[in-house]
Symmetry: C2
Subunit: 235 residues, 2 copies
Amino acid sequence: MPALQHPLALALSSKKDLMLDTGPRPFTVSVEGNVGSGKSTFLKHFKGLEGVNVIEEPLEKWCNVDGHNLLDKLYKDPKRWSFLFQSYIQLTRLQIHLDQTPCRVKIIERSLPNNRYCFVENALDSGAISAAEHTVLAEYYSLMERRLDIGVDLIVYLRTTPEVVFERMRQRGRAEEAAVPLDYLRRVHRSHERWLTGARPAHWPPVLCIDADQELKELLALYDKNKERITGGKV
Amino acid sequence: MPALQHPLALALSSKKDLMLDTGPRPFTVSVEGNVGSGKSTFLKHFKGLEGVNVIEEPLEKWCNVDGHNLLDKLYKDPKRWSFLFQSYIQLTRLQIHLDQTPCRVKIIERSLPNNRYCFVENALDSGAISAAEHTVLAEYYSLMERRLDIGVDLIVYLRTTPEVVFERMRQRGRAEEAAVPLDYLRRVHRSHERWLTGARPAHWPPVLCIDADQELKELLALYDKNKERITGGKV
C-alpha cells in the first residue's frame, strides 16, 4: 500500500497541510531592553497605527496559572521555582510568536530568544536554576527554533545605562519597581549587551539600537524618524 | 512593499518551506503497557524487519542530562524533581516523534500522549507535581499537539493484570525492577485502562489490544498473526 493511501495517513496529511497553510507571518518586531528602559512607551507610540498589532508581556498569565501566582512563588523561593517559571515564560512567549494576526506588522514586548539568551542564562549564572534545568530549557528552545516559525525581522534595542534607569525608576516611584536593586539591573543590562551588541550569528535578526537614556521627547522623535524601518515599510 | 518582497521575509519564508518539506511521516506505531508487560519483547520481535525502525525509550538520556541523572533525582525527592523529569521526558518523546527515518514504519516504545494521559496525570494524583506544574506540562503538550505532527497511526496495548506482571518481575529477578511495588503497577495499569479502553475521542488513533498476561509463545504467534495490521501493510 503506498504511503499516502492509508486512510489515517491521509487524514494526518491533511492535518499537516492545514498546519502549514497558515500563510506568511507578519513583519515581526521585538522591543528589548532593561526594566525601565521605556518599552511600554515605545509600544504605546505604535499602538493604534493601522495594520500594527502590539502585544505586551503576558504578565497576568504569569501571575495566574490556574489560580497560582508563579511570579509570587518565584520571589519567595527562586531556587525552587525558577525552572517552572522559566518553562512557563518560554511557553507563553512561544504562543505569542505563533499567534496569528490579520495585521501586517506585529510588535512584541520581549521575545523567546530574549528569554533564552538573557533571562535563562542569568538564572543559571545566579544559581536560580541548576545545570540540568538549564539544559532542559535550552533543548526545548532549540527544538522550537528548529521546528516552528519563531522568526523576528527586527529587534529594537532600547539601550540604557543601568544607573540611569535605576534613577528613573526611583523618581517615578512605582510600587512594583521599588524593590528592583541596581545590581539586578546591571546583570540584565550585561546580558542584553552580550546578546545584542558586537558580533552575532549571521542568521540572527538585525538590531536597531536606540540610546534610550535620552529624554522622552528626543526618543519619540527618533521613533518617528525610524517608523518606516520599524514597521518594515508596511504602514 | 508586498509581504514577501522583504529580504528577511523571503529568507524566513524559505526556512518555513524547508520545515514543511519533510514529507509524510512513516506509519507510526506506539507500543504501550505497564512495566513488565513485554514491550521490549514486542520491539525485539519487529526489530530487523526490512523497512521497520524500532525506537526504545531513551532511558540513557534521562539518566544523563549533561552529566545529571534525572531518574536518580526523581527517586530521591519526587516532589522536588518530578516536574523537571516530566518536562524532559516530554521533550525527548517529542524528539522521537519528530525524528525522521528513511523507514516506512516506525515503532516506538511508549509515546508523548502516553506521557500526557498516564504519567503526568499519575504525577498529579500522587502529589508529585503541583496543579500549577500540571497546567504548564498540559499546555506545552496541547501546543505541541496543535503545531507539530506527533500523530500515531496505531497503538498496540499490551494489556496485563498488575498482579501477573508483579509475579513475572519477581520471578525474573531483575535488579532494577525489584523495587517496583504492586501498588505502583496498579496505578499505572488504571491510567492505561482509562486512556486506552472504553469511549475515546474520535480523532485518537485506533488501539490493538493484546492480552499480554499470556505466555510468550502465544504472544509471538499473535504478533505474527497481526503483523500486517501492526506494520500498516508496509512490510
